[in-house]
């Protein structure tokens, strides 16, 4: 096996198919660790990981914190919204602060695209992007890939339909890149105002009609709709969104599954009955999230130097 050559995980666009496969394979071992009587290993003992969250998050932060603890790393969290940063402390000051604390790795979430890249250029610690603006959310996409691969055994040839606000969704972006790199075909569906420019160049097919989009899909990936998009006039009303793009009934294809990155607006983009149906992998995504993040932390923080 070739050595792991990335110091940071900033996005899926910089990973090859082989590298993604490596992460998923390692995650499989960590998934097993989580089923042991003592579900932790000392692989990152003595390492200090800082969770740097500039944007409110509960799930991703919890998942990372748990992953770090399961690897026996010392983990601490700094969470601050970007608005209080604006009051005077610049990102650069934060960087200096991190350097002084001798942190081995940071997990960063920020509302501004490019912040993980910015940090990776200026500090020695390894950087994991936990979501930056509308850019990427690589750990979410990797856990989605892992969940789908675990369920279907392979990703090649799968059909995934991603439904909702593609334009502002880093989850959608990373998943489009990830699934298409792994040989799945991606269809996106949502209000045309929420479909970004050049989506077809990312190997995704755009479909207006929800029925057509999910007809042959193995995976229906539902995105959370942000209320502020409606307030900004990007679609006329929640009622209209629910009617045109909400997932409310079983689709035709047998064996298909439902995924959602959470948190769900129940009854809006997804009905409760669909979210809790037997073919919903939404809670499984939470479990696989810890295993996948353990694998990533292990790959980036496990050895002292990268080649």
């Amino acid at each position: 096996m070739s050595p792991w050559k990335h110091k940071h995980l900033l996005g899926l666009s910089s990973l090859s198919k082989k590298e993604i496969t490596r992460i998923l394979d390692e995650a499989r071992e960590f998934y097993k660790v989580l089923e042991r009587p003592i579900p932790s290993v000392p692989a990152l003992r003595g390492k200090t990981i800082l969770n740097l969250f500039f944007e409110p998050s509960t799930r991703t932060l919890m998942s990372f914190t748990l992953s770090e603890k399961r690897l026996s790393a010392d983990s601490l969290t700094f969470s601050k919204t970007s608005s209080s940063i604006k009051k005077g402390e610049t990102l650069l000051d934060t960087v200096k602060y991190i350097e002084a604390m001798k942190i081995d790795g940071i997990v960063v979430r920020h509302s501004s695209a490019g912040v993980p890249y910015y940090l990776s250029q200026r500090i020695n610690a390894f950087v994991i992007n936990a979501g930056d603006g509308a850019h990427e959310h690589p750990t979410q996409a990797l856990l989605d890939l892992f969940t789908a691969r675990r369920h279907f055994k392979t990703l090649k040839g799968l059909k995934i339909a991603i439904i909702g606000d593609i334009k502002h969704s880093r989850v959608a972006k990373s998943n489009i890149i990830g699934f298409s790199k792994m040989g799945a075909s991606v269809t996106v569906c949502g209000p045309p105002t929420l479909i970004p420019f050049g989506i077809e160049k990312m190997n995704a097919i755009f479909e207006y009609d929800l029925k057509k989009a999910i007809k042959d899909a193995d995976i229906i990936y539902v995105l959370r709709i942000q209320m502020e998009r409606q307030e900004n006039g990007m679609f006329p009303s929640l009622r209209e969104y629910r009617e045109l793009f909400g997932i409310a009934q079983q689709n035709k294809k047998k064996g298909s599954i439902i995924m959602h990155p959470g948190p769900i607006n129940r009854g809006l983009e997804l009905t409760s009955s669909m979210a809790d149906a037997p073919n919903s992998l939404i809670t499984e995504q939470v479990k696989t999230g810890v295993a996948v993040r353990m694998a990533i932390l292990y790959l980036l923080g496990g050895a002292s130097e990268k080649i």
């Binding site: 666009s13 970007s82 604006k86 610049t90 990102l91 650069l92 920020h110 501004s112 695209a113 490019g114 912040v115 890249y117 910015y118 930056d132 603006g133 509308a134 850019h135 990427e136 334009k167 880093r170 972006k173 970004p196 420019f197 050049g198 989506i199 160049k201 990312m202």
Partner: protein, 430 residues
């Protein structure tokens, strides 16, 4: 800076907007006037310069600069910005009025002109605001500003979105043959846009600035210019579609002119994948297709001028999250060498064409008093610079005169150096 009575430059190749002069030439300047060109020698002149390997070129004019004074002197002052321009061969520069507060009264125009006379060696001209406080609501005292110092007006980054006010501005300035410069940008379409809206903005997750934010504004401005029969200058055009509209307007006989910036000639949005805030500008660096159309338009003469849009910002402001960093980059000191290398060396345009874009054409647009801008001939005021196209240097803290460092060329090697600038009876050595 050295003052001189007589200056003798021997053995130099001379180019101006008419092309290459018989070479090599010996030039003699006395009392600020080019008094002889040809074979005569003047070994007893106060200063003698050997011009071997160098080009003698006419002083340049930049009709779009931000000198930040008053209000943001930590980014740039008239003195520092003008010196950087001088080191870049620009002997005439036009300062945009979006200072803090904006230059929107004849008093402020007069004061800045006075200040410039005191601190700058080159000719610093002031552009006045179109509307009071650049708020786009009512006309500033355009007539008085014209009387006391400037006939060129712009609200620059704050495009006059109220079409009625823009119509009045175009009509009103006709009485003194003034010029309105439009930074064509419909801000409602720009929104929170950061970079050109395209595949790259999608990939990077940065909000896009669509090309229509420029073209919708150009369309309206062109139509107002047609209706009012006024002159209109569109600055730093960035889109292929916008250029098409300008071309049609010119064919229709409108008094429309247009400039482009060096950075829109150099870069495409593909250069932004590293989230470099030193490529965050307005209008944004656009697609390869737009960039190529700009180069074609320069080649075929559709573009009238090149202006730098020199826009200093402090390091603290640019070292921020991409969305927090301000728009704009500096560039007056390096514009000529990089344009020479990008456009003249590979033969895209001739040096004569480049000089026109940087001297006589913009001088005509703003109606510069000096009607000899771009020419080198006997009997005119010395307004020249000496350029060594083969000398390499690094654009850095040590060599830059600007107070700011926000340039994608900062700490990069530059081919071609401006060695001397001669303006009237002063010699500046760089």
């Amino acid at each position: 800076m050295k003052k001189f009575k007589s200056l003798y430059i021997k053995n130099i190749t001379v180019y101006d907007i008419k092309g290459k002069k018989k070479s090599p030439q010996n030039i003699y300047i006395e009392n600020g006037i080019v008094s002889d060109m040809g074979k005569n020698t003047y070994p007893n002149a106060d200063i003698v310069i050997d011009g071997e390997d160098c080009l003698l070129l006419p002083g340049l004019i930049d009709i779009h600069e931000h000198l930040r004074e008053p209000g943001e002197e930590h980014k740039e002052t008239i003195a520092s910005g003008a010196l950087a321009a001088l080191a870049g061969g620009f002997t005439d520069i036009y300062a945009m009025p979006n200072t803090k507060p904006p230059i929107d009264t004849p008093e402020k125009v007069k004061f800045n002109l006075m200040k410039a006379k005191e601190v700058a060696y080159n000719n610093v001209h002031v552009i006045g605001s179109i509307t009071k406080g650049q708020r786009g609501e009512s006309l500033a005292e355009l007539g008085l500003m014209a009387k006391y110092g400037t006939t060129v007006f712009s609200d620059d980054g704050k495009w006059v979105s109220n079409a009625r006010i823009m119509r009045y501005a175009l009509e009103y300035t006709k009485m003194f043959n003034g010029l309105i410069i439009s930074h064509a940008e419909d801000l409602s379409l720009t929104g929170n846009g950061q970079i050109h809206e395209g595949e790259i903005s999608t990939l990077l997750g940065l909000s896009g600035i669509p090309e229509v934010s420029e073209t919708c504004a150009i369309a309206r401005d062109i139509d107002l210019a047609r209706f009012t029969k006024a002159k209109l200058h569109i600055t730093h055009i960035s889109t292929e579609q916008g250029l098409k509209m300008i071309k049609q307007a010119k064919l229709d006989g409108l008094k429309i002119s247009v400039d482009v910036t060096p950075h829109h000639i150099f870069f495409t949005d593909e250069n932004l994948t590293n989230f470099d805030t030193n490529l965050k500008v307005k209008p944004p660096i656009r697609s390869r297709r737009d960039r190529d159309s700009i180069i074609r338009a320069i080649k075929n003469g559709l573009v009238d001028a090149i202006a730098t849009d020199h826009a200093p910002h402090s390091k603290e402001e640019k070292e921020l999250e991409f969305v927090e960093a301000p728009f704009g980059i500096i560039g007056n000191q390096i514009a000529f060498p990089i344009l020479y290398k990008r456009l003249v060396v590979p033969g895209i345009i001739t040096l004569k064409q480049l000089l026109k874009l940087l001297t006589s054409n913009p001088a005509n647009i703003v109606q510069l008093k000096n009607k000899n801008k771009g020419s080198i001939k006997k009997g005119i005021e010395a307004d020249l610079f000496i350029f060594n196209p083969n000398e390499k240097w690094t654009f850095s803290k040590e060599t830059s005169f600007s107070l700011s460092e926000n340039s994608p060329f900062f700490n990069k090697s530059i081919d071609g150096k401006i060695k001397y600038v001669i303006l009237k009876n002063q010699l500046h050595i760089f």
